[in-house]
């Protein structure tokens, strides 16, 4: 099983009380599956993504990534999980603005301690894989279009060879046509590399690209 959530709850302290962002989520996502998490704004989608992505811990319940329960791991191990097993694609791309395209993609490999030559080769491979040729490698993100930035972000998410890719509104800042192209690319790469991909979106048309859709409403999953 790629990702497993059992009774996952997340509460935040607020104004003397607590706010329940997630209320007992149960979810199983098989390895290599491409699923979407849909829901209105404030439904807890990003919270759920942060928990699966080991950026946060649930208040209660268990999260397993490839069989490893992450909720009880220390911070160092959570960081290790993100480094080795998880790739992120953000709505606003979140590229480092003063690193070139290829340096952005190399970043996860740099953190893993991969040698420069190998880093460069791997990064080039992934950039070519998302349709960006060498001419773009030395550009800064500010010199690229939205679609191109998102391609770089996808390449970066793949660079550390993760098992799971989490895409939070990956087409939110793109026009319809570019967004469609991006989703097709994500789907293609998911199938090609056998990655478990979880796409968070509020757009039903985006969700159509995925194999399974889950609706998150008021902190609970509805099929």
């Amino acid at each position: 099983m790629g990702v497993e959530l059992i009774g996952v709850t997340k509460e935040y302290p607020h104004a003397g009380g607590t706010v329940k962002a997630l209320k007992g989520i149960d979810l199983e996502i098989p390895t290599g599956d491409l699923i979407s998490l849909m829901g209105p704004s404030g439904s807890g989608k990003s919270t759920l993504l942060n928990l699966i992505g080991c950026l946060d811990r649930p208040t209660a319940g268990t999260i397993k990534i490839e069989g490893v329960a992450t909720n009880s791991l220390p911070d160092v191990e959570l960081t290790k999980m993100r480094r080795n097993k998880i790739g992120f694609i953000f709505q606003s791309f979140n590229l480092i603005p003063y690193l070139t395209v290829i340096e952005n993609v190399e970043l996860p490999l740099f953190l893993k301690g991969v040698e420069e030559q190998e880093r460069r080769e791997e990064a080039s491979k992934f950039l070519n894989g998302v349709g960006l040729v060498e001419n773009f490698f030395t550009h800064l993100p500010s010199e690229l279009s939205g679609g191109q930035c998102q391609r770089v972000a996808i390449a970066r998410a793949l660079a550390n060879n993760p098992s799971i890719i989490l895409a939070d509104e990956p087409t939110g800042n793109l026009d319809r046509k570019t967004g469609d192209m991006t989703l097709r690319l994500i789907k293609e790469l998911s199938e090609k590399f056998g990655k478990t991909v979880i796409v968070v979106t509020h757009d039903i048309k985006i969700a159509e690209y995925t194999n399974k859709k889950y609706l998150l409403e008021d902190g609970k999953i509805r099929d």
């Binding site: 960081t79 290790k80 480094r83 979140n94 603005p97 970043l107």
Partner: protein, 388 residues
């Protein structure tokens, strides 16, 4: 990655670097100048290292060295040379219509011939009412050979004008008059000598002679004070060293202030990099790695600034020694005891100060960057990624 952060904030980085450079230059160049002062002082007094100065113990009420004491000194230190000296620091006199005040020395004629070079005229012989005048005194009062000076109402003829004395000397005659011993006695009727200088024939005899003098002259009472030139040199060197350290400490304070500037720059950097820190944390950077990026940034800043500061301090130390040393100790390149700027720069003391300035520059930069680096490592990736 660190280079990229530094390049991004060029102006801010440059200003922070400037502060460190100034601090390092302050410490190192003041230290180099202090080393130059010490070396020059030691070199100047080198020729006087074999001297012992005997003065009456004025604290105990003894005002003069008697002739008997001087005869005793001659006996004790033989064959070392003994120079008894009369001195009137506030001599009153008249030159032409002008009333003047000056220092007057009274010395044995044979001693005068040894101690001073006459520029015009000749040295004193016998005990006629004649004097030698110092170079600056002659120049100020337009005196030449044959001029008359009235000392305590007595007419004294100028027999010679002395060469200007620069650097350390037993007596500084440039602004004084020199009389033969008997002439001085005729004018002032002194009760005894004001002090006696002994020049040991060998440097290694200075210590034993000093001991002998103390044992004999102060056998029953402390009638005299005895100091060797090396004591005096050590005192001067210590004072100069203390001044140099104090000034260098002030330089260090300026470096600390620069360090606060560095901390401010780094904190601003952390704030501006919050989102990027969040991205790096999301893709698997450990907090320690984030901290190290910022510490590495400050290490680069510290090393670069300290290196530039140290190199500039070589230039400024060189200039300080060329410009200020002659003013402080009256030694220029033509003086006895002159120490060249290159010698000063390569002296161990200078190298130590340069090393200290360099190391302290890096140390201050790193210490002041510690808090911002720790702050960066504690950035919550979720909050950081939400930051716009």
């Amino acid at each position: 990655m660190t280079f990229k952060i530094l390049k991004r904030h060029k102006t801010r980085t440059l200003l922070a670097v400037l502060g460190i450079i100034i601090g390092v230059v302050a410490i190192s160049s003041i230290g180099i100048f202090g080393t130059g002062l010490q070396l020059s002082t030691e070199r100047q007094f080198e020729d006087m290292a074999n001297e012992i100065h005997v003065t009456p113990n004025r604290k105990k009420g003894y005002e003069f060295l008697t002739r008997e004491q001087n005869k005793n000194i001659e006996r004790i230190v033989s064959p070392a040379e003994v120079i008894p000296i009369y001195q009137e620091p506030d001599g009153k006199g008249q030159i032409r219509e002008e009333r003047v005040r000056f220092t007057v020395y009274g010395l044995k004629p044979e001693t005068i011939a040894i101690l001073f070079e006459v520029q015009t005229g000749r040295t004193l012989r016998g005990n006629k009412p004649q004097c030698l005048v110092g170079y600056d005194f002659a120049d100020d009062h337009e005196l030449r050979v044959g001029s008359s000076v009235y000392i305590e109402g007595k007419p004294i003829s100028v027999k010679g004008v002395l060469e200007k004395v620069q650097g350390a000397a037993v007596i500084y005659p440039n602004n004084a008059l020199i009389l033969a011993e008997r002439t001085y006695e005729d004018v002032y009727s002194p009760e005894g000598y004001d002090w006696t200088v002994i020049k040991a024939d060998k440097l290694e005899r200075v210590g034993p002679l000093e001991e002998l003098l103390r044992a004999n002259l102060n056998k029953h009472k402390d009638t005299v004070s005895i100091r060797t030139m090396s004591d005096i040199i050590a005192t001067i060197t210590e004072v100069v060293g203390t001044i140099a350290i104090t000034l260098a400490a002030i330089g260090a304070i300026s470096l600390l202030v620069a360090g606060i500037g560095i901390a401010n720059v780094m904190l601003m950097s952390v704030m501006e990099e919050t989102r990027n820190i969040g991205i790096m944390r999301a893709i698997g950077a450990y907090p320690g790695e984030i901290k190290n990026i910022f510490l590495y940034e400050s290490l680069l800043l510290g090393c670069a600034s300290s290196l530039v500061g140290t190199l500039l301090s070589i230039a400024s130390g060189y200039l300080l020694n060329i410009v200020l040393l002659p003013t402080f100790i009256g030694a220029d390149s033509s003086s006895v005891g002159f120490v060249s700027p290159l010698e000063i720069l390569s002296a161990p003391g200078s190298l130590v100060y340069m090393g200290l300035g360099f190391a302290f520059g890096i140390f201050v930069t790193m210490i002041c960057s510690l808090y911002p680096a720790l702050k960066a490592s504690k950035v919550d990736p979720i909050i950081a990624l939400r930051a716009e």
